[in-house]
Symmetry: C2
Subunit: 339 residues, 2 copies
């Protein structure tokens, strides 16, 4: 498939000559316009098949102003793109909804700042018709690039600085409050938290819910902040808490992956779960059931978040009125055996 | 960001008027051509900034014949896209290499047959300059679509029917042979295999290596074939083997995820690993270290596979001679505690 071997592509001209019609007529058919006789239409269809014409997408998207593709940007360290089943489920939900509407999802990873510059060029390139943004931070360069471009956009999550852009989210603060209360009701006295991603609305809101739920019992020494919703950061956070507060008897881990890492450290330290210490997570992702014991956690509707964000973008692409600018989805508690 | 709000985009014309030059001169600068005075160039740069011009990518890619994007197609049930850390590592390796070359990777999932039709349209649309194909089967509709399009392409893996297209792979047969021999040398007498994805070159080759390694000791009743390299299929395969051959004392699981599922079933059945039964996997993915006991397995260089495939596509895009059409990477055995 070296470039020397490449044959000349058939053009609209070739089709027009073969069909015995004008180039304009071929264009009208290709672009789905009316006012073409059915005879001309059949002749053109036959000619397209005969000369092996493939519409040039760049030319086509110039005429149609459409690429029939929607980007999904994951702004995370690329390792997390793989490790976090939650991101995976958002992605699959979006892919389903886009696929049903006959749109191609193009998943784009933004990790380094170099990635972000290149991504901005890609987004401005007319190669996609809209974009779903997962896990943006406040002050995110991608948010700025997208708002400059005025591209149909929906966020999963709700960074404070996205103006009146569409978003789909859960109420992290209320959910964190509820599961912390539930943990306290099991009789725990020294409840800590492994707080992640405080630069993200989700991370900050979960900490706020935890703090509010404990009220006067809140002890800042029992909060350990780690950068990522990751297994490894869960391990580090738990080690730090055990060292600082050996009498800790309850932990709210800010995600299931974080909880899984924390559990591993508790096992190694010889602490029995839930007898000596109760632990709860957040997400109800595939981690939750693989943990031993299975996690009590908050069920995040990740697939539905992806689907709803895709639908919001599709409505904008079609020029339809948005159903509503902000959509908040339910996230019930699922109680199992880890607390 | 509703479509009514959208302001008119600045055009090449606006830039030309602002800079006091012809549209042709603006085009020459935008397309990186020479023969433009440095005064004109500075005036145009200033005008672009002033009118807020963003080059239209579709128009640009029509002129340049480039989108600066490469697709990576994963032809798998979408659930596996998330579950299989191997696919994730291939993806990250490719993303790194493309990013260094300033290409945007657009990851595309092909699950349903509807996805495949839409994907063929996308690929023919000039929206990407090349494509990396992961986990294609023989007779794959995507392989057919890509070869028709004559697009720069590299496969990860080696389906038999890809003609002389570039590919990057490991020698699955030799690796499976080696780890099966190693398992036999631990003194196992009744060695079975959970064989997955026999419609894929990797799956078929791993079974061939296993069969050859056992020679006269090969017993077809000890092979259970399952569709996917997945945890769930590993559970099902192990259940079937235990039922059919309760005296089984060694298992080659065709991937680490399959081995993890098999281990779970062995634990539940009260079989001690490695005392009662030895088990080996394939991939050395993140599953391997999370298993209890950690898996003896074949180290698949997934990141390097992704990187090498990306580099092969980039060479084709640039019209450079391929280094070699087929690249085979090393995959050593990593021996831990599961056998």
């Amino acid at each position: 498939m070296a470039s020397e071997d490449r044959r000349r592509r058939a053009t609209v001209n070739d089709v027009a000559i073969e069909a015995g019609v004008s180039r304009g007529t071929v264009s009208r058919v290709l672009n789905g316009k009316r006012y073409v006789s059915s005879e001309a239409r059949s002749a053109i269809d036959a000619a397209i098949a005969k000369v092996g014409f493939v519409p040039n997408g760049a030319a086509r998207s110039l005429v149609m102003q459409r690429s029939q593709a929607v980007g999904l940007i994951v702004h995370e360290p690329s390792s997390l793109f793989i490790e976090d089943p939650n991101i995976g489920s958002i992605l699959l939900g979006a892919n389903e909804a886009l696929s049903e509407a006959d749109y191609q999802m193009a998943c784009l990873i933004a990790d380094s700042s170099r990635d972000i510059t290149r991504l901005s060029n890609y987004l401005s390139g007319g190669l996609i018709d809209g974009v779903i943004i997962v896990s943006a931070r406040e002050g995110d360069a991608i948010t700025r690039a997208v708002s400059r471009l005025d591209l149909p956009t929906a966020f999963v999550g709700h960074p404070r600085d996205i103006g009146n852009a569409a978003y789909v989210a859960i109420d992290n603060q209320t959910a964190a409050h509820a599961i912390t209360r539930r943990l306290a009701e099991t009789g725990r006295r020294r409840i800590g938290m492994i707080a992640s991603a405080l630069d993200r609305d989700s991370g900050a809101d979960r900490l706020a819910g935890f703090t509010a739920a404990l009220g006067n019992d809140f002890d800042p020494a029992l909060v350990e902040s780690v950068p990522l919703y990751s297994y490894r950061d869960g391990q580090e956070g738990m080690r730090a808490l055990l060292q600082r507060a050996p009498d800790i008897d309850g932990v709210f881990a800010s995600s299931d992956a974080v909880a899984a890492g924390a559990l591993e450290v508790l096992h190694l330290a010889g602490r029995r779960v839930p007898e000596d210490i109760g632990i709860v997570g957040f997400d109800d992702s595939s981690w939750a059931m693989r943990c031993d014991p299975p996690l009590s956690t908050v069920q995040q509707p990740a697939t539905s978040l992806g689907r709803a964000a895709a639908e919001a973008v599709l409505r904008q692409i079609r020029g339809e009125e948005p159903l509503q600018n902000a959509q908040m989805l339910e996230c019930p508690i699922v109680w199992r055996n880890s607390a």
